[in-house]
Symmetry: C2
Subunit: 210 residues, 2 copies
């Protein structure tokens, strides 16, 4: 029963690629120990981990693989994911919509292995086609699911807001003016940044051990 | 509260690309009405749907988009997804592992737009590289999570088994002998097919209205 006895658990996460900062915040709330596996140590650790891949969440010696599964579990523990099935489904549909950008990024990775010119074309397409498409959908979802416009679901922070925040800061690096065209996302972004835990983090990013 | 009052709900799904048969079985258990939107009617329907994309699950007039979100919600209602957070996380990690094959397929779609020779190469790679990689991981997960080797989680059917079944029958079309190399997946596949609802379906596939 991980939820009830969470405080007494030996619970750690191992990763050799740093998760995004947002995820670290979640992990700091929930996970007592975390380890960063260096590239040098990786061959040894690889053989000790079930699927030979990181991240792995370890709870009482049981190792859970797959970053998205870990993230879903951790957000549940952090009460950032509704226990009501239909509300949870709405959260999921926001995240699936955000993931359309992740998939767009996948294309980019593949193209990178192939041709430099195609990579440039892909980067232009990301801003000119994928971002407008996905951000427009997200504006509709925040209107349909949110209650006061601050957050995606009702009037409090959920996993959906964190995932969206993560993508937005990625896209802002490519186009710092992008949110001018998406007023609802801009309002959401502003309020997510005001969240106490996150605001503190942005001011003084902790020296994470992973 | 969708779970408690499910029987009294007006609940339907709209799609213009047929979901896989396995998903239809789930939908038949859970969803009272379903509509197939033809290509001709699509332009009209597109404008009535929040994100302009299908499938959409409609519950009491509220439209939920995104196929994976719908699938997760529906499997919860069908009791094919654990209410225990850590068990649910294990299920998710199986599905995320299966999705590595979906991503491999994504590559294929992208390559298709580019060069015929690369598509052929990609198809060979799918069987020679991606399938062995993912199927080997799935063998480890079924060993770690299952109790008697029949199913992925404990000793009963979950969403994980259905997702795996769906991918296996896709890969079997490319290589009918593939399961000889994966005894645990072969056993799982055999038991999923024996499940009463599924067995009945395979024998006499219903004339679904979508």
């Amino acid at each position: 029963m991980p939820r009830e006895h969470h405080h007494s658990k030996r619970c750690g996460i191992y990763t050799h690629i740093a998760w995004h900062d947002i995820k670290k915040i979640l992990l700091q709330k929930i996970i007592s120990q975390s380890g960063y596996v260096s590239t040098t140590d990786w061959p040894t650790h690889k053989s000790e981990i079930p699927l030979g891949q990181v991240p792995v969440l370890e709870i009482d010696g049981f190792q859970l693989p797959q970053s998205v599964s870990i993230e879903r579990y951790v957000t549940k523990q952090a009460k950032l994911y509704s226990t009501d099935d239909f509300e949870a489904a709405k959260t999921d549909s926001v995240i699936d919509t955000i993931d359309e950008l992740r998939d767009a990024n996948l294309y980019k990775i593949i193209l990178k292995q192939m041709d430099e010119k195609l990579v440039e074309k892909r980067e232009r397409n990301l801003l000119e086609e994928d971002v407008p498409k996905v951000f427009t959908k997200l504006e509709i979802l925040i209107k349909n699911y949110g209650s006061d416009g601050r957050f995606f679901l009702g009037n409090k922070l959920t996993w959906a807001d964190l995932c969206c925040y993560e993508q937005i800061i990625r896209i802002l690096k490519l186009d710092p003016e992008i949110l001018n065209k998406y007023p609802k996302l801009a309002l959401n972004h502003e309020h997510v940044e005001k969240e106490p835990t996150l605001a503190e983090y942005i001011k003084t990013p902790p020296e994470a051990s992973f």
